[in-house]
Amino acid sequence: MSRKVILCRCEDVTLADVEHAVAAGYADLEEIKRYTGFGTGPCQGKECLREVALAIAAAGARSPETIAPFTTRPPLVPTELGLLAGRAAPGKRRAGK
């Protein structure tokens, strides 16, 4: 277990996780997103989508040209509730104070 390959850094999804999902019969990027949780963290797949798609193709589940990206969900970037509510965030400060 020394060669752990992380594909999705937000949710710690590994190459082995994706291969396991393919072995379980999942082949669509949407299904594998749900089965492994990849692409559901702060980057929403912006960093890992391509890597996971390549891993699915390499595992033999799909040929690369048949793998469509998953549905992009708003907001485009993580957005504060206070901003969306038209309120200033209380005690707003930088991380680490």
Partner: protein, 403 residues
């Protein structure tokens, strides 16, 4: 770690020629039904779905499982369903991330308070330990709440939340192991024939089925129409959002009666929640799964009003799913009167996910020939058209429909 992998979705497997029971819809209801049928020894069960597992409302809901209802039928069913959820990981060998942190309902008006009082008394009679609590007591349970303007609250510590997706994988895998044939990406395009010899047309070929169950949630009316069965339920779009993960701080699911606001913290740490958008209730027949900025704004205002500290928390994702609404607020189950052998299981008002474990258990028993549970009479499919003796509606109207 050597783990036994059973394919829950056999990629590219051919469609069988014959089924004893064909279930249309591989959401939690259809899969749970197929699993329960297999447990009872029913052979040749086939599940068909137009999309992939978790594409529909089963993959889009908030994951709440509660026993706080206004009707005895729903309270008793949900007591059993919550226990089934609690045993799911053991029974089906998959982690469903269940956390029993309770459900806290907050009421702003005296009218809502009176409703909660009545509900709590009924729940207590059914041995659900819900307590009516003051707004100050509510803040003792959730210290971050701003309880100004609230009249009352009620809290049941034995309610909880789950992560919905593993329920689908768990049921699909367990059903598959028991011989159920599950076909995603397989829409039914036409239904011909009659009881004993239905013919379901799909792009993968024709499936012959003795009986058919439509468990397609908000898509049920269009599926049933293929069999010339007219269903009165309609879809209402509900939106939901998820935040960045936070350190665990929020114990119960929190809900505000008047606005339909609800939110909880999942075991992954993120807050997940939604709210009523009254403009969605127009009765549109088409299902829209788009997201709106109006929802984000409405939700953000309501959330930061009841818990101001959340203003600094970031939303990472929003999505939508359909509630499957029925005219009298109760589900629609059983054999379609105009089409013997064609069964429906829909109209669950946005709480089909949490009811599926128990409803599927009794639905399967009825299909296997056992005495039907009393919900088959209360929620029977012909109640909207039937004249003559018997109740005109599906019994008492459930008022605890949230979101």
């Amino acid at each position: 770690m050597a783990e036994q992998v059973t394919k829950s979705r056999p990629t590219g497997a051919p469609l069988p020629a014959n089924a004893e029971i064909a279930v249309i819809g591989a959401g939690v209801m259809g899969l749970a039904l197929a699993y329960n049928l297999a447990l009872l020894g029913v052979e040749r069960v086939v599940v068909l779905d137009a999309h992939y597992l978790a594409w529909g409302a089963s993959g889009r809901n908030g994951g709440g499982v509660r026993q706080q209802w206004s009707t005895e039928m729903n309270i008793r069913l949900m007591q059993e369903s919550v226990e089934l959820c609690a045993g799911f990981a053991r029974e089906l060998g998959i982690n469903v991330w269940m956390r029993r942190g309770g459900y806290l309902f907050l009421a702003r008006t005296a009218a809502a308070r009176a409703r909660l009082e009545k509900n709590v008394a009924l729940q207590n009679r059914c041995d659900v330990p819900t307590r009516l609590v003051s707004p100050e007591d509510a803040r003792a349970i959730v210290p971050e709440l701003d309880v100004e303007g609230f009249e009352a609250a009620c809290y049941n510590a034995t309610d909880g939340i789950v992560f919905p997706w593993p329920f689908l994988w768990g049921y699909a895998r367990a059903a598959g192991r028991r011989g159920v044939s599950i076909h995603t990406g397989t829409p039914v395009t036409a239904i011909e024939g009659a009881a004993g010899a239905f013919r379901l047309h799909t792009p993968k070929g024709i499936l012959r089925a003795a009986r058919v169950v439509c468990a397609a949630g908000a898509w049920s009316p269009e599926v049933a129409l293929l069999a010339d069965v007219a269903l009165p339920d309609w879809p209402v779009r509900h939106e939901i959002l998820s935040t960045e993960p936070l350190k665990p701080f929020l114990k119960p699911m929190v809900s505000v009666i008047e606005s339909g606001l609800y939110f909880s913290q999942s075991l992954r740490g993120e807050l997940v929640g939604g709210i009523s958008m009254p403009e969605e209730r127009g009765g549109a027949r088409e299902i829209r799964l788009t997201s709106s900025l109006a929802f984000l704004q409405t939700m953000a205002r309501a959330l930061t009003e009841v818990m101001p500290v959340l203003a600094a928390v970031k939303v990472v994702r929003q999505w939508a799913g359909p509630y499957d609404m029925s005219p009298d607020g109760n589900p629609i189950v059983g054999e379609a009167p105009e089409r013997p052998g064609f069964y429906v299981c829909c109209g669950f008002q946005g709480h089909g996910f949490m009811m599926a474990p128990v409803v599927a258990r009794y639905y399967a028993r009825a299909l296997a020939g056992e005495t039907p549970h009393t919900f088959f009479e209360a929620w029977r499919a012909d109640r909207f058209t039937r004249s003559g003796p018997g109740p005109a509606s599906g019994g008492e109207r459930e008022t605890m429909i949230i979101g």
